[in-house]
């Protein structure tokens, strides 16, 4: 594109949308964003700070926001702790890691296969299925908790490992984003492969998957967040304590630490909250440029 050339010639490089460098006119935007960014960050800094506070700082009056003598005691307390039902905390963490890994891998495969067919194959129900999926973007899972419970009960999935994974895999946003992204791949690429005698599976595996890596990264992040942060499945569909997740364990920490207990459990809860948050953050930092390039295909027409 002649975009860069145009910008250089017209001298608007550092003004307007997507500037190359700094310009005085940008100062007002920084002034606007700074306080907001601090407001957004405060609760997160608070978690980090609390996670490293020794007990006397957690109990301190007046309370202080930042930690002064950081310690890892909260983390060691967290992992030496047993839940009330005698399950070690590491077990919840192990469950969460395993469930998240399986869910992310399965979700990438399942949604990208469906998205490939929906984008590049010709069949009768194509338009209808895409329209149905678009309507399902509006789906609010929390509204159908009860009928979902009945379905899961009928399928004998209560108290099974798979109940964590299977419902998350039907993710309309994921299919939608992948389909839009695959639409951007020219049909000629696929036709050329077909002439060479490549099977559908081979086209999907060798051509489509490598070309849609940014979109796959985005689906991975969305699925990761859905699976890793999921405490509801554990409380609604599982009675077997040893199958429940770390997010669920954290929710028991916060609901039982009321009143006098609140301060005592706070350090441990903050340590657990930090463990919950960090992987989300790291993965997003790592993959953010891929996410942005997927998002430019996200238009809903």
């Amino acid at each position: 594109m002649s975009r860069n050339k145009f910008r250089r010639l017209s001298g608007v490089r550092n003004r307007g949308i997507n500037p190359r460098g700094f310009h005085v006119s940008q100062i007002k935007f920084y002034v606007l964003l700074m306080p907001l960014a601090i407001f957004m960050l405060l609760p997160i800094i608070f978690v980090i700070s609390n996670a490293f506070k020794p007990p006397d700082e957690l109990f301190a009056y007046p309370p202080r926001f930042f930690v002064t003598s950081p310690t890892l005691k909260n983390f060691s307390d967290l992992f030496s702790k047993m839940s009330t039902s005698g399950i070690p905390v590491s077990r919840y963490l192990f469950n969460s890691i395993l469930i998240t890994l399986v869910t992310v891998a399965a979700s990438i495969i399942v949604s990208s296969m469906a998205a490939y067919a929906l984008s590049k194959k010709r069949f009768k129900l194509k338009k209808t299925l895409f329209a149905v999926n678009n309507v399902a973007l509006m789906f609010v899972p929390i509204a159908v908790t009860i009928p979902r419970f009945l379905v899961i009960e009928r399928l004998n999935l209560l108290d099974s490992f798979w109940v964590h994974i299977l419902p998350v895999l039907a993710m309309p946003v994921g299919l939608f984003l992948l389909k839009q992204f695959i639409d951007g791949i020219p049909d000629e690429v696929i036709e050329a492969a077909q002439i060479d005698g490549a099977s559908d599976w081979r086209i999907y595996w060798r051509i489509i998957l490598p070309l849609i890596q940014p979109a796959l990264a985005t689906i991975a992040i969305l699925t990761f967040q859905a699976a890793w942060n999921n405490a509801d499945t554990s409380s609604l569909y599982l009675n077997n304590e040893s199958l429940r997740t770390f997010a669920f364990y954290l929710s028991t920490l916060t609901s039982t630490t009321t009143g006098a207990n609140a301060v005592a459990g706070q350090g441990i809860a903050a340590a657990a909250a930090l463990i919950m948050f960090l992987p989300n953050l790291l993965i997003f930092i790592f993959l953010q440029s891929q996410v942005m390039s997927t998002m430019s295909h996200s238009g809903l027409k």
């Binding site: 009056y61 973007l137 930092i285």
Partner: protein, 303 residues
């Protein structure tokens, strides 16, 4: 043999497409379509989970409108108040921030986008720890201590237990975490717009940035605007559990933070009136549908 051949033809032509789709759609049907239809069916029944459901026609809906004082007096007004502020409010905020971010060079833009997006990555359960100590009701609470230090208040305030503060706190907390995937989509949408459009508009006499936003930016990114709107509507209704998380009880203190989602839980899991809860679920889904139709009118391709 001959009767089989159309089927074989179909299988050869479309079979592999359906094979690729099969797993996703199987899960989609089981975990989305069937539950929605089941909610619809159950909403016409009386069902206490012990006896099989008994068909009672529209009676659940009628008593929802005529007899459920809690719903009419607290839940519905609360939900509308919460949804209108968090939905369109959060959406406008997301667009504005995305636009401002687009005016910055790449590195600061990425850093600010990360900061604004990161709250949406936090899990509700994890953040409950934070809100409970920030808004703690005694003098050790951070907000109380801060305000008392400034001598703005004399006595600690029971933030999360008092009806007049619970709702505003719910709204702030939800807005805090609402710069999610819709916000990223809108940011990408703004960055995608061909800069020559702006130049052409300037020649045509468009001179303020406000005009630029309304005549160029928004019309050029309608699809992303619609995607962002749908995400923000869903996010708003999905966030409904926040009042119960914050106050630690369902029902919330004097129903101040009671939203439609909590009402469903209250009837479904605490009172085991599944039929009635299903009727409320259907109302919730209809509300989402209604709001999405409005955004379709505003940003849809037919508009």
């Amino acid at each position: 043999m001959q009767s089989k051949s159309p089927f074989r033809k179909w299988l050869q032509k479309e079979g592999s497409a359906y094979a690729f789709l099969s797993i996703y759609w199987l899960l989609f049907i089981i975990f989305i379509i069937v539950p929605v239809l089941a909610a619809l069916a159950l909403s016409f029944t009386f069902f206490d989970t012990i006896q099989p459901p008994e068909f009672i026609g529209l009676r659940n809906y009628i008593s929802l409108i005529t007899q459920d004082d809690t719903f009419m007096k607290y839940v519905l007004p609360n939900t509308i108040q919460f949804a209108v502020i968090v939905g369109p409010g959060g959406y406008a905020l997301a667009f504005m921030l995305a636009w401002v971010l687009a005016q910055l060079p790449k590195l600061p833009r990425t850093i600010f986008a990360l900061i604004l997006y990161s709250p949406s990555m936090t899990a509700g359960v994890a953040m409950a720890v934070v809100w409970k100590s920030l808004f703690s009701g005694d003098q050790t609470g951070y907000l109380n201590s801060f305000l008392m230090g400034l001598r703005l208040i004399q006595e600690p305030i029971q933030w999360l237990q008092s009806p007049q503060y619970l709702m505003p706190i719910m709204i702030v907390v939800t807005l805090w975490s609402s710069m999610g995937i819709g916000f990223l989509a809108m940011l990408a949408g703004i960055l995608e717009i061909n800069p020559e459009l702006y130049e052409a508009a300037a020649i045509d006499g468009l001179n303020s940035r406000w005009q630029e936003i309304f005549f160029i930016t928004i019309p050029s990114m309608k699809p992303q605007m619609l995607f962002g709107a749908v995400m923000s509507i869903v996010g708003t209704f999905q966030a409904g559990a926040i009042g119960v998380t914050l106050s630690g009880s369902n029902p919330t203190p004097r129903y101040a933070g009671q939203l439609i989602v909590n009402h469903i839980e209250d009837y479904g899991f605490l009172r085991y009136e599944m039929g009635y809860a299903a009727a409320v679920s259907v109302v919730l889904l209809l509300m989402v549908l209604f709001f999405t139709r409005i955004s379709n009118r505003l940003f849809g391709s037919e508009a």
